[in-house]
Symmetry: C2
Subunit: 111 residues, 2 copies
């Protein structure tokens, strides 16, 4: 998995366990894709300071995943739902299969 995608997932799962300050900087870097220099200027800290803070957040978030494995559980489910959805063949017309397609779609949007 690409690093930013994994960071986005980890943040989505455990971001609330970071401090508000950490969240602000991490969101700017990972979700809003700002550069270290842009964030440094905005937050009034050094570029190195931002870099260290992002690395520290990575470690904290990875640490929670290492202990809880909840993202891993989600991703396994997501894979299976994608398989279910593929099996419905995008069918929208007939009874049960159409409803299964709709529900699996809904789940994938939530995950």
């Amino acid at each position: 998995m690409e690093k930013k995608v994994m960071q986005t997932y980890l943040y989505d799962f455990y971001g609330e366990l970071l401090t508000e300050h950490q969240r602000g900087v991490y969101e700017d870097f990972v979700l809003n894709d700002l550069s270290l220099s842009e964030i440094a200027q905005e937050a009034g800290i050094s570029r190195q300071g931002v870099h260290d803070l992002v690395r520290r957040c990575d470690k904290v978030l990875e640490g929670y995943e290492e202990r809880l494995h909840l993202l891993e559980r989600f991703l396994k489910i997501k894979e299976k739902i994608a398989r279910i959805q593929a099996l419905t063949g995008g069918c929208r017309a007939d009874g049960a299969m159409a409803e299964i397609a709709a529900i699996s779609n809904e789940i994938l949007e939530e995950l």
Copy 2:
């Protein structure tokens, strides 16, 4: 949801964030269904001490769920997978629908 069921879920999700001592006592109470007195005797602390410790663990685990809502997300998915499974009608015989039944079964066993 029944209290012990909820405690079991919360422990399954966030139990790794308790201390080893907390986990031991909480498991005895919630998973192994021992009485406060039995646990007190085994752990060499007072019955009231066990009671307070279990309550404290409840608060810690509930606190994580209040911040992360990961159990809530899981339970919503679980409900939808159960609906998918119901739609397959327990069918095991024909192609796509049979595979959907098998996969949804697998997911439900994991959740």
